[in-house]
Point group: C2
Chain length 300, copies 2
């Protein structure tokens, strides 16, 4: 029997959309899946829907003898959860997570986990507007990127175990360091959420919006879509990726202020055609469009 086909005992702690979907995908892939959530109704539902093989009542039972423990609560709850499971972990267990930021979580794991277990962070780049176990979908991670973030002390075998789970869920694995990951997701995900939110505030939050609404169209809908994301999740992301997000926001704020200055300095519209100032702004728009269009075929 090759190591690739060994059935793992996987304990999924937190049965929201991500945890429940992963649990079901791993059960489908042939692993033995233990599920746990703080509410008994959630554990009952996970059992009844066949998302897990078993769902014991206590956290201690849920993590005992696991090959891999997967932490899937909201990110700010992970620190206390690590404290709670630490006394009950078996030697050799690999602990991983699915949180949106990686540096804080890695730090908590390093500070709190006992030396006989190993930490390998994880971040599946998947989500949906609908939350909760009732929307669990084994296809949620298919063809998505699953970032694996090994701690410095993690052995190759431990990393492989997490890589295998990500692969068995249908994802493509990439490996990053925690600080590289947090910088990258700030740029392509967290700052865009904040920009979408800031624009939504300036538009929908204005008392005069009713006057403007008749001319609003699909462009406004698409650019503000991210602002309808989960507020608590994004709040927790801000706390755990503070510096990268603040720096990114200041950067976009400065680009906008500079564009405002360029617009204010534009020539009079009656005499504008053919002027040099006009060419500068048009070239700026063309350059940015070109960069964005170049990436577009790679957008997933």
């Amino acid at each position: 029997m090759s190591s690739q086909s060994i059935r793992l005992r996987v304990s999924v702690i937190g049965l929201g959309l991500i945890g429940a979907s992963a649990a079901a995908a791993w059960k489908q892939a042939g692993h033995f899946v233990v599920g746990w959530g703080p509410r008994s109704a959630t554990r009952d539902a996970a059992r009844a829907r066949g998302l897990v093989d078993t769902a014991p009542d206590t956290l201690a039972e849920a993590v005992a003898n696991a090959d891999v423990v997967v932490l899937a609560p909201p990110v700010l709850a992970i620190r206390q959860l690590i404290r709670d499971i630490a006394p009950h972990l078996s030697t050799g267990t690999v602990v991983t997570d699915v949180a949106s930021t990686k540096a804080s979580v890695e730090e908590w794991a390093r500070d709190i986990l006992p030396p006989n277990v190993e930490w390998v962070g994880g971040h599946p780049m998947a989500g949906r507007e609908t939350a909760g176990l009732e929307h669990a979908d084994t296809a949620l991670f298919r063809n998505r990127v699953w970032v694996v973030v090994p701690s410095i002390s993690a052995s190759a075998a431990s990393v492989d175990r997490v890589v295998r789970l990500a692969t068995d869920a249908g994802s493509k694995v990439i490996t990053m360091k925690a600080d590289e990951h947090d910088m990258a997701v700030a740029k392509v995900s967290h700052v865009p959420f904040m920009v979408s939110t800031a624009l939504s505030d300036a538009v929908f939050g204005n008392a005069r919006f009713a006057d403007w609404a008749p001319v609003a169209a699909t462009g406004l809908r698409d650019i503000t879509r991210l602002a309808s994301g989960d507020a608590t999740m994004h709040r927790d992301i801000c706390v755990t990726n503070r510096d990268n997000i603040a720096k990114g926001l200041e950067e976009v704020s400065a680009v906008l202020a500079d564009l405002a200055r360029q617009v204010r300095e534009l020539p009079n519209p009656a005499t504008a055609l053919g002027t040099r100032e006009l060419d500068v702004l048009g070239q700026t728009f063309r350059r940015i469009k070109h960069d964005r269009d170049g990436w577009l075929p790679n957008a997933k």
Copy 2:
């Protein structure tokens, strides 16, 4: 025969996507449509595709005896075009346009048009990523908003003629003043384009983007979609809606700077849960999401 069924002689000047689509829609609705573009190849194509009833070689012939002249070139070209057609217009002709901004165009019309014709501005809220006559589509304006902007001196009969064309193209008409229109589209369309562009610049324009690209997903794609819009059109929009756009950009820039400050002041992630600062940011996100979700069912 009711006035509603009188066949109008409509001259469409400028046969890009908008002009050609409107010409074809009006021909289909039973009007007599004259088309003109500066290039003979365009006039030939309009004739060959049956988008117009006739496409004379000169601008003078194209506007002669028109009930309505529709100006559909890029907005900054409209001023010279009004100069060019002015000597050839017949008494009682209504001149309208389809440009994205209305105050500058209205000013040019007031300054240049002879007193025996009337100006009624127009802005169909329709567009497509593909430009040019070869993409002409009679359904382009169906169920869209067509803003009609009567000049102070326009008679009710002249306004009705433009309203009828908009309606015959399948659009829903709303009437606004030029400055109200320009403020509204700045807020819901022009500033969103600039925000999308600023964010695209900060992301795709960064030399390190290749490092971040593997974790980029559909959220980034959607929020940067507007930045792929036509650069020249948006440059011209900036020139003709300068103050509204600059003010809107400064406003969003300030909201972003304030969010950056709030993020920097967030509590330490290890002790954040349950703190008041955390609640404030979460409530901000929830309020903005609530405002946006409330509008969403009305988004077209």
